[in-house]
Symmetry: C2
Subunit: 595 residues, 2 copies
C-alpha cells in the first residue's frame, strides 16, 4: 500500500473554493488563523498518516486483536500502541479541543483534514483515537463540572480514549429496547449492570484508562426510548479527587471476528455493577448521546472518504504499471508487449468514479466541517442556527451517500487489479472489506435515509432543504451569464428542480401512507447526495475554469473529473427518481408469509 | 447457514414456463426424458447440496487450504474429501456426460439445476468437481481418441478432477503474452516448463490424479495469441496403456490467501519439464480452450445465482425473526416489544432485490442450458446454429450481469442483518466475499461487456441480437391483446426499442472511434441484461397470472416479485442508457499523467 496525502486538493478546496480563512477569521476564537497555519498543520498530519499509521494497515488487518479471556485484556496488533504514543506526543488528539482543557483550539476543519488522512492510512487504527472525539463532545456538552474537569483533559491529551456503549444483543437501531440497568448509590454514583456488544475500541492496550459512555435504564424509568439515561463508566475507577482507583466492573468478554477493520477491537462488554456517574438529566440519555452520534456519523463519512482516496491512488498506480492488451484505438506503448491498462476506457471509468467520489466527498466534508466551526463558534445566534440546520441536513448525506460511494469506489478499484485484487497481498481487497462496515454502523444507511427524508426534510416542511436550495440557487444565478459554466449549472439547476418536485410529491404521498417514506427514502437520499455533489463539482469546476490558463495541470485534471462526474455519475439520478416515485405497493403488497 | 433447495421454483421454470420436457423429447438422445425423471433428479441433487455440501461451507471458509511446501501437497478443509467421495458414489459427476465414457447422458439442463444448488450450498467446494466439466468438454471436443479414452472415463466417474491453466503472473486477460514453453519429445509428447497462477482446484487431496489443461508455447510458435497451444498434463503421468505412473513435473508452489472462496485451493503451479500431450492443433490452443472458457463462464453465472439464492433465504429468515422498531404505519406485532424488521419497506426492497435477481437469473440460466442441449443434440443443423448464436449472445450476460447482480444482492442481504451481518458468525458476509471473485475470473466483467458489444453484437451487425429480439417481439405481440399483461409487456417493448436505438447509435460511433465501444460496453451489457430479465419476468408473470386462481400462493408471490422487478429494478436502465450514450471523451480526454 502506498499513500500520498492529498495536500494540494485539501488546500484547493479550503483556500480556492471555500475561502475558509476569511470565514474562520470572522469567528472570535479563530481570528488569528491563517492559511500558513492551516497548510503547516495538514502537512504534518499527512506525514504522520503516511509515515506512521499507513505502514500498520495491512499488518493490523492480518494480525487482528486478541482477547486474553483470563484477564479480559485485549492485545492490539503489533505497532498500534507505539503509533498511538507518537500520535499523543505529536499533540494530535488535542488539535481542535478546548484550550480550557489543554486543547489547541484549532478549527474542526483541521481535525477533518487530519482524520481524512488517518482514515486513508488505517481506518482500524484511527478508530482508537477517533471514538474519543465523540466522548469529548458529549461530555463537553452535557457533563457536570466534575466530569468535564476529570475526563476532558485526559481525552484532550490522548492519555485516555473514549467509547460509545449503545448496542445490546437484542437492540441496535431500536435503543428503546435496551436493558442495561443503573442502580443509584447513596454517594450519588450508579452501579451499572448489563451487556453491550459491537463496542469499537471497547478494550485495548494502548492507553492506561478507557472512558466508556454507557446508555442504561434507571429503576422505574419509563419504557422505551424516553427511559434511557447516559453514564460515564471508566475502565479504572476515578475518585472524586480525580485519582485513579481499582479496576471497574466493565469487562471485555469477547472480541468479534469480522469481515474487516480487524485491527480495531470490536468488543462485547459485560458490566457487573460497574461504577458510573450520570451524564445530563435522567431519562434524557438518548438526547445527550445524539451529540456523540452526530459527530460519529460525520466521522463515518470521513472514513469512507479516506478509504476511497487510498483505493484510488493504489488502483491508479496499478493501472499505469500493469500492461495487458492494446488500446482499441491502436498501441499506446508500442515499445512494450502491451499497453498499460489505463488506456482502456472502462478502467478509466472505474478510476474516475473513485476519484470523483473522493474529491466531491472531500469538498462536502470540508464544507460541513466549516459549518460546524461556525455553528460552534459564531457570536451571531442566527448564523449558529442556520449552520446547525445545514449540518443536520447534510449529516445523513455525508454518512450514507459517502459510505455507499466508497463501497462502489473501493470495489471498482479492486476490479482494476483483476485477479490480483482478490489476493490479500495486493492490499486492495482490505479496503473493500473495511469500507463495508461504514454502511452499517452509527445508524445503517437505511436509518440515515429515514432521518433525512422523514425527519430533516418532511419533518420541518422542507425548511432545511430550502436553505440549502437557496445556496445552490444563488450559485446558479451568479453563473447564469457565464457561458463556460453552462455545462455544469444546467444539469445542476435541472436536478434542483427535480428534487423540489420529488420532495413535494413524496410529502403528499406520506400524508396518506407513511410507508411511502420508507419506500422512497434510500433513493431520495442518493438523489440529494448527487445534488450536493453536483453543486460542489460545479463550484470546483468554476475555479478550475478560471485558473486553467495558469498552466498548472491540477486545474485541467479537476475540470476533466468534473466533466466525468456530470457525464457518468450524475445520470444515476434518472433511475433513482423513477424508483423513488414508484411507490410502496411494489414492496408492501406481498404478504410476509410469501417471502 | 440454512438452505432449502428451491425445487418448486426450478420446476416452475422448467415445466410451467419453458416446457422443457417437450423440447428435450424432440432431441433424439433425450427422447425418453420425462418430468418425473427431472423432478426426481433435482430432488436428490437438492438433498446432497443441502445435506452434504452446505454444512461444510462456513467451516471450509474458516479453515481454508494448507500447502505442505515439502511435498507440494494441499490439504483441503475438513470434510471436503469425504463429501466428494459421497458425490462420486452418488454418480453426480457423470450426470450429463456421454454414455460412451460412462456418463448418464442426461441433459445439461439437469446439470445446471445440480450446480445451482451446489453453489448455493458451498461455492468453494463445488469448484473441485466444477472445473472438471470444462476439462471434459474441451477434451471431448478437441482430444485425440487416446486422450478421450484415457481421461474422459476418469473425469466422468469423478475419479479424477480437471483444471484450466491459463493465467501467468504477467498475463491474465492478455493470454497472447504467455511464456510457458512446450518442447516436443521424440515419443510425440511434450516437456512443459513455466509458471501458472490463480489455478482454481489446482492441487488438492480429494482425488488420486488431477488433469491439468495447460496453455503453452511451442518452439518457433508465432508471437501473440496465434502461437499458443493446449496440452493435457496430468499430476501423475499416464502411460500409453492408461496405467498410472510416476509424479509429473507440475507442482503447487504456493496457495493464495484470498478475500473469499477460502475452501478452494487457488494455486501457483510450477511446471518443470512436465510431460504432456497436445490437445487439438498446434498454435490453435486458444480456440480449443474457448470451449472450456464458455462452459466456465456459464458456470460462473451459476455460482452467482447459487450465492444469491442462499443469501436471500438467510436474510429472509433473519428479517422475520429479528424484531426492531415499529412499522411506520403502526405496530404489526403488538404482542412483541417491536415488529419483525420485514415490516420495513427498505428491508423488503433489499430482500426483493435478491429474490428478483435470483429468480430472474434462474430462468435465464435454465433457458440457456436448454439452448445448449439443443445446440449439442439437435439433428437439425439450423436449430443447432440458431441455438449456438443465442448461447454466444447470452453467455456474457449470464456471466457479467448475474455476477454483478449477486454482488448487489449479497451485499443487500448482509445489510438486512445490520451490525450482525459484519460478524463472521452470522455466515452472511462470506457470501459477499465469495461473490466478489465471480466478477473477476473467467474474463472480468469488463472483458465480458467488450465481448458482448464488440464481438457478439457489433461484430456481426446485430444478427445475434436480432435473433433474441425476434423472440421477445413475438412474445410481446402474442400478449398485446392480453390486458392483464400490459404492465409487463409495455415496459419490455419500450426497453426493446431503446436497445435497438442504442445499438445503432453505438455502432455508428464505433466506426469513428473504437474507444466508444469500450466506454459504453459495461453500461450496454447491463441494459441488455435487464432486457433479458424483463423478458423472463414477463413470461413468468404470464404463467402466474393464468394460475393465480389456483389458490397456490406460489403464483401470488411470483406476481408480486415480477411487479417489484418492473417497479424497482428495471428503471436502472434509464440511467444506464444515458451514461452509455454520453460517449468516451469524459473518460479519454484526461491525460494519463493527470491521474
Amino acid at each position: 500500500m502506498s499513500y500520498t496525502p492529498p495536500l494540494r486538493d485539501l488546500q484547493f478546496v479550503m483556500h480556492e473554493v471555500l475561502d475558509v480563512t476569511s470565514t474562520l477569521q470572522q469567528l472570535p476564537r479563530h481570528a488569528e488563523i491563517d492559511a500558513d497555519t492551516i497548510n503547516a498543520v495538514i502537512e504534518e498530519a499527512g506525514k504522520f498518516a503516511a509515515g506512521v499509521a499507513a505502514p500498520l494497515n495491512a499488518s493490523g488487518d492480518a494480525e487482528g486483536c486478541t482477547l486474553d479471556t483470563a484477564t479480559h485484556e485485549v492485545r492490539t496488533p503489533k505497532g498500534f500502541k507505539q503509533a498511538y504514543e507518537q500520535y499523543v506526543e505529536g499533540g494530535w488528539p488535542s488539535l481542535s479541543c478546548d484550550p480550557a482543557f489543554g486543547g489547541q483550539g484549532l478549527p474542526v476543519l483541521l481535525n477533518q483534514c487530519l482524520y481524512e488522512m488517518l482514515n486513508s492510512a488505517n481506518q482500524a487504527w484511527t478508530m482508537y483515537p477517533g471514538l474519543s472525539h465523540g466522548a469529548y463532545e458529549c461530555l463537553s456538552a452535557h457533563g457536570t463540572e466534575w466530569q468535564k474537569n476529570t475526563y476532558l483533559p485526559k481525552l484532550t491529551s490522548g492519555e485516555w480514549t473514549g467509547t460509545m456503549c449503545l448496542t445490546e444483543p437484542h437492540c441496535g437501531t431500536d435503543l428503546g429496547m435496551l436493558r442495561t440497568k443503573a442502580e443509584p448509590q447513596p454517594d450519588g454514583t450508579y452501579k451499572i449492570t448489563g451487556q453491550k456488544i459491537f463496542i469499537s475500541a471497547g478494550e485495548h492496550d494502548i492507553t492506561s484508562n478507557i472512558v466508556h459512555l454507557v446508555l442504561a435504564r434507571l429503576p422505574d424509568a419509563p419504557a422505551g426510548s424516553k427511559g434511557i439515561s447516559l453514564f460515564v463508566v471508566p475502565k479504572y475507577k476515578v475518585a472524586a479527587d480525580g485519582s485513579i482507583g481499582e479496576r471497574n466492573g466493565i469487562f471485555c468478554t469477547a472480541v468479534e471476528h469480522k469481515m474487516g477493520i480487524h485491527g480495531n477491537a470490536t468488543c462485547q462488554l459485560t458490566l457487573e455493577a460497574a461504577s458510573g456517574t450520570l451524564v445530563g438529566e435522567p431519562n434524557r440519555g438518548l438526547q445527550a448521546m445524539f451529540v456523540m452520534m452526530n459527530a460519529a456519523r460525520l466521522g463515518v463519512g470521513c472514513q469512507a472518504l479516506g478509504l476511497t482516496e487510498t483505493a484510488y491512488q493504489m488502483a491508479v498506480a496499478y493501472a499505469k504499471d500493469r500492461i495487458q492488451m492494446r488500446s482499441l484505438t491502436g498501441p499506446k506503448a508500442p515499445d512494450k508487449p502491451a499497453d498499460p491498462i489505463i488506456v482502456h476506457p472502462d478502467v478509466r471509468k472505474m478510476l474516475l468514479t473513485a476519484r470523483a467520489y473522493a474529491e466531491g466527498g472531500r469538498a462536502l466534508a470540508l464544507y460541513t466541517a466549516l459549518l460546524l466551526d461556525r455553528e460552534i463558534a459564531s457570536d451571531d445566534e442566527d448564523e449558529r442556527a442556520e449552520c446547525a440546520d445545514l449540518v443536520a441536513l447534510l449529516t445523513a448525506i455525508v454518512k450514507a451517500f459517502m459510505t455507499d460511494n466508497a463501497w462502489i469506489a473501493t470495489s471498482h478499484c479492486m476490479q482494476v487489479y483483476g485477479g490480483h485484487g482478490y489476493i490479500r497481498d495486493s492490499g486492495i481487497e482490505q479496503f473493500v472489506r473495511d469500507a463495508r462496515i461504514n454502511m452499517i454502523y452509527e445508524g445503517t444507511n437505511t436509518v440515515q435515509s429515514l432521518d433525512l427524508l422523514g425527519r430533516k426534510v418532511l419533518g420541518d416542511n422542507g425548511k432545511k432543504l430550502k436553505k440549502f436550495g437557496k445556496i445552490v440557487a444563488e450559485f446558479i444565478e451568479e453563473e447564469g451569464v457565464n457561458e463556460a459554466m453552462q455545462e455544469f449549472v444546467n444539469p445542476l439547476a435541472d436536478l434542483g428542480d427535480k428534487v423540489t418536485k420529488l420532495t413535494t410529491e413524496l410529502g403528499m404521498k406520506a400524508m396518506r401512507n407513511t410507508d411511502e417514506v420508507g419506500a422512497a427514502a434510500v433513493d431520495y437520499l442518493r438523489v440529494c447526495g448527487h445534488l450536493v455533489f453536483a453543486y460542489f463539482w460545479a463550484r470546483m469546476a468554476k475555479v478550475a475554469l478560471e485558473k486553467q490558463g495558469s498552466g498548472d495541470p491540477f486545474y485541467t485534471a479537476k475540470l476533466h473529473t468534473a466533466r466525468f462526474y456530470f457525464a457518468k455519475l450524475l445520470p444515476e439520478t434518472a433511475a433513482l427518481i423513477r424508483t423513488a416515485r414508484s411507490g410502496s405497493d411494489a414492496l408492501m403488497a406481498m404478504d410476509e408469509s410469501l417471502f
